[in-house]
Symmetry: C2
Subunit: 316 residues, 2 copies
Amino acid sequence: MSRSLVVALSGGVGGAKLALGLSRALAPKDLLVVANTGDDFEHLGLSISPDIDTLAYVLSGLDNQVMGWGRRDETWSFMETIATLGGESWFRLGDRDLALHVERTRRLKAGETLSQVTRDVCRRLGIAVRVLPMSDDPVRTRVLSDEGWLDFQHYFVRRQCRPVVRELVFEGANQARPQADVVAALANGNVRAVVICPSNPFISIEPILAVPGMRDALAGCGAPVVAVSPIVGGRAVKGPTAKMMQELGLTISAATAAQRYGSLLSGYVVDPADADDVRGLSAAVKTAPTLMTDLATREALARTVLDLADQIAARR
Amino acid sequence: MSRSLVVALSGGVGGAKLALGLSRALAPKDLLVVANTGDDFEHLGLSISPDIDTLAYVLSGLDNQVMGWGRRDETWSFMETIATLGGESWFRLGDRDLALHVERTRRLKAGETLSQVTRDVCRRLGIAVRVLPMSDDPVRTRVLSDEGWLDFQHYFVRRQCRPVVRELVFEGANQARPQADVVAALANGNVRAVVICPSNPFISIEPILAVPGMRDALAGCGAPVVAVSPIVGGRAVKGPTAKMMQELGLTISAATAAQRYGSLLSGYVVDPADADDVRGLSAAVKTAPTLMTDLATREALARTVLDLADQIAARR
């Protein structure tokens, strides 16, 4: 019996786009998306999970493609009003988006796990593939910057990534347990490929890998681990990936992203523009257009990634 | 020096309308509105204080006069979305209204009192008069009905007052302390009148009077206590006042409402249509149009109430 399950590790928008491509290339039961929760935070008394939400909105087709984040058909009455009441308005929560945060917060307080809430939300949004958090235990990315320690969203949204990053820590990661169904899926001998989506390595993928047992479970699942480079033509498509590389004293390149995953990586998909950068890597490299501008390019990139994984598996 | 402070006890919309009239008839420093908190509740993880909110919206001119409750210029994206997520949607929370609940919940959890939050919200909404809750301790009205015990909002909103009421209890009232600034204001010898707004006696005013010490503080303040009848022409203007009188075995009349306040009451303003009903009362009765259809009638009724109080005081 051939292996069928694809496990994808995803952060924000770039990751969700590839997850959507994978969801179109695979039967629903054959895709499990593991979401970073290192950028989860508590804001206005609400439990917010930005990467899970991005996955939920992108996979359900509810994402706001004009803004590039949040929900489509959004309204902003809540945000306008909370500002007049003296509440914090630097993290913009649309009225529809807010419903998800309020409902999740209520359920978490009632004792449900983040996994249970995520599963139910995805089901109600009509998402057929599985989306699970990396852990049900709190992990919080914190940034040591030239302005001192910042909670992740304060760095990312409030300060718009302007502070210079010196170090990243994933608070709580040492005590966190990897999500049990993810561990079980990785252990059952049915994994076809692990896909590391083109998310920011430092803040989207490394928090997932920092959960004790997760890296070993991925390495030991018997399937190729294939990443897609978040660097295209020597630049980050979106967000602070390139800026962080520079601030952390690393070369801005597709190779640097691959090196963050070390021996875990068996395959790497990079844009043709970055082919020269990755010649020294031990991972099998495939070049393909990696800019996902529409649904067709997302699905095409997903198929490229799966092909590379299958080629690597066939060679073993 | 003449006494100047008017203390008004208010429940929902009817009470807020008279409070608005009083705010136009008095200097801001001369009005203190005490809000019922017996219908406060926790919903979707949020702390909701319907009567305080109604006062805040009506006194700031932000009330929705088309719906008769909530805020003007309201949108409903949150409510539409939470229903699709399987959340409870029987208590309708507009997107703008929601901002107040989220911000209040956050501040209460951070350790502020309901009084502090109310004061700040009113200030930010541009309300010059003082609005305070009857207590900072939780009091929760519960309804014994032919369907068993119901939390107040489940009876009032979810079941639309349809169950037959057998008994009302104000849970927590025995342990609640009256709001300290209200007690101090009543004790300082400067009270010109206590006004009991035309709110439902059973569920809006009696919870206030049930807070230990409140009734004595009102009775002992040295000023006339004047109520406006919530019954006009033998019927309730709005809400279940008449239905409750009947279900509790009482006559539906303006006199019944006055009798609920017993010896506390020294003056009573009723509609001309109800003059015959109140002949036996010991309180001084004044007839005047009590339907508040616009700002002018609210202010006129306020002046009528103050005149009656001043007449009673002059006779003493």
